[in-house]
């Protein structure tokens, strides 16, 4: 018993970390190794097929119209949503960086949307987007315009899904950028004003350079997150109409969990993991600097 106690004291560091280490390895390291392994097989547990095909899955993936469209849509969605969210977030942060009456009351309300479950949000927006009974088309008809096929038009569906993401997650970019604005010392502005800078020039030459890191982080964080887009596609459009809102996550879901082509789905998962990891690494380096 005493020997055990001594061992425990010497290796206390490992004892504290061990449970977390075991669970992380079990839940992430092992599955990642396995997903890579599966991606080299033609594997369908329902039809009981398991055959080694090497890189065959990858070759077929990049010849698959659905996957390529999904790749394209995912990039489009991620870049579009990220840029708009950070831009709107910046505008909102400038607005709330001013002192005005009611600011304390309105600030928590602006952050409201990101607290709701994505499914609840999809329920609301799907009802508002409805072609016949939706409030948007009602407003358009009342104002004398043609109703819009928000979720059922090939050209528009992806943008309608994007608008929901913008509504839900602009508050995130806003929070990051507001924190950035408030970390800029007021004396800097005064000094610049003494030098004769005002308005737009103040913004361009004082605010923007000092906000650079925060803008960069907001861009990284939002692009990593929007790249995963799945829930909204599932609940709003189901990937359609046609392949208009097909995304990589949705492709993996459909191949893996509806058709049980788990080999091919795994190959797509590996591709996706690598793509996200590139951006994640940039983010992690940034966080590391902040830590050190």
């Amino acid at each position: 018993m005493r020997a055990l106690g001594r061992w425990g004291r010497r290796h206390a560091n490992l004892l504290f970390l061990l449970p977390a280490l075991i669970l992380i390895v079990f839940l992430t390291v092992y599955p990642l190794v396995r997903v890579f392994y599966l991606s080299l097989y033609r594997y369908n547990p329902i039809r009981r097929i398991e055959r080694f095909v090497g890189l065959g899955n990858y070759r077929r993936l990049f010849a698959d119209r659905f996957f390529l469209t999904g790749l394209r849509n995912t990039f489009l969605f991620s870049v579009g949503a990220t840029l708009i969210e950070v831009l709107l977030g910046l505008g909102l942060a400038l607005l709330f960086n001013a002192k005005f009456r009611g600011r304390k009351l309105l600030l928590p309300l602006v952050i409201f949307p990101m607290m709701f479950s994505t499914m609840v949000i999809c329920a609301i927006w799907r009802s508002m987007y409805h072609y016949d009974y939706g409030i948007f088309n009602y407003a358009l008809r009342t104002a004398g315009f043609q109703p819009v096929k928000w979720l059922i038009s090939q050209d528009l569906a992806l943008w309608s899904v994007m608008l929901v993401d913008i509504w839900q997650w602009t508050p995130m970019a806003f929070l990051i950028l507001l924190a950035g604005l408030q970390s800029i010392p007021g004396e800097l502005y005064e000094a610049a004003r003494v030098d004769g800078a005002t308005g737009a020039r103040l913004f361009r030459h004082v605010t923007l350079p000092l906000l650079r890191n925060h803008i960069f982080l907001a861009l990284l964080l939002r692009s990593i997150d929007t790249f995963k887009i799945f829930d909204k596609v599932y609940a709003l459009t189901g990937g359609g109409p046609g392949t208009a809102t097909e995304t990589i996550s949705f492709y993996i879901y459909r191949e893996g969990f509806r058709y049980f082509n788990m080999g091919r789905a795994s190959a797509a998962a590996v591709v996706m993991f690598l793509a996200v990891s590139v951006v994640s690494f940039i983010y992690i380096r940034q966080v590391w600097r902040g830590e050190g």
């Binding site: 396995r34 499914m119 929070l175």
Partner: protein
């Protein structure tokens, strides 16, 4: 002088106009959910929906209660609390160990890096192997299985959050306790734990919000209605019925209330909570 005052007035008017339109854009969907849940079907399933409910009805709330939506509520509470408690129980010692000890071969750095990478990774990437693993353990369609799967989200998250809070505890306090002859474990429970308390609560609240709203793993690992969580129930509602919006919004409101109340407690931690880390 007059022109100067006029432009200032115009600027202020513009400011309030922009602020007002922003608030309308942000709040209208929530307003719409709230009012629709109190409208009679004739007021929303129509080409001329009403902007305000003319007659307020509670029929949708009664209906979802009678149809047993509380079961999904209970499931969600169980999964959410279960995954949060499990995560905190494992993450707190880990965060303490990482903050206070040295590790061989930079194990701590590698571990933290990996955990951060995992937190950024798309959950669907791990879904296939997790599915087969849970199947092998007989934990598919079980809330316990989902609690384990949710550690993919909550554990990395809790470790990073708590690491920050533990680092904020001055080491002198612990050294004083050690001089008084307290063991590591007693120091941890009697000294560090109370000091980290508020941080622990904040972390727990974020973990609850995260798991309460989670969708994809619940969708993939729970296929039987009796174990559904609220988001899954809502997703079935959305995709199966075209315009049953009254009950749908009623359930949306009910399922969001606990989260909205909890989020009030973590306002000042929001940034840390959602963005992990930076100063």
């Amino acid at each position: 002088m007059n022109i100067w005052r006029a432009t200032r007035l115009a600027k202020r008017a513009l400011f309030w106009a922009v602020l007002l339109s922003v608030m309308v854009f942000v709040l209208f969907p929530i307003y719409w959910m709230l009012t629709t849940s109190f409208k009679e079907p004739l007021e929303y399933a129509t080409r001329t929906p009403s902007w305000f409910p003319h007659r307020i009805t509670f029929q949708h709330y009664r209906e979802i209660w009678k149809e047993g939506a509380y079961r999904y509520f209970i499931n969600t509470v169980l999964v959410s609390l279960g995954s949060t408690l499990l995560s905190l129980g494992i993450a707190f010692p880990a965060a303490y160990g990482l903050a206070r000890f040295r590790f061989p071969a930079k194990l701590d750095l590698i571990f933290l890096l990996w955990v951060l990478l995992v937190r950024m990774a798309p959950p669907v990437v791990l879904a296939i192997p997790l599915y087969t693993t849970l199947q092998g353990l007989g934990l598919l369609n079980k809330l316990t299985g989902l609690v384990i799967a949710y550690q993919v989200y909550t554990l990395p998250y809790s470790i990073w959050m708590l690491l920050r809070f533990v680092r904020d505890v001055p080491i002198e306090v612990e050294e004083a306790a050690a001089i008084d002859g307290a063991s590591r474990l007693r120091t941890l429970v009697a000294i560090v734990l109370p000091l980290v308390g508020p941080g622990l609560v904040a972390t727990a609240i974020f973990a609850v919000i995260m798991t309460w709203n989670e969708f994809i793993y619940a969708l993939l690992f729970l296929r039987r209605p009796e174990v559904f969580t609220l988001p899954i129930h809502i997703s079935h509602f959305i995709t199966e019925y075209e315009v049953l919006w009254g009950p749908l919004m009623a359930i949306g409101i009910t399922s969001s209330l606990p989260i909205l109340i909890l989020s009030g407690y973590v306002q000042k931690h929001l940034l840390r909570g959602f963005a992990i880390s930076f100063k």
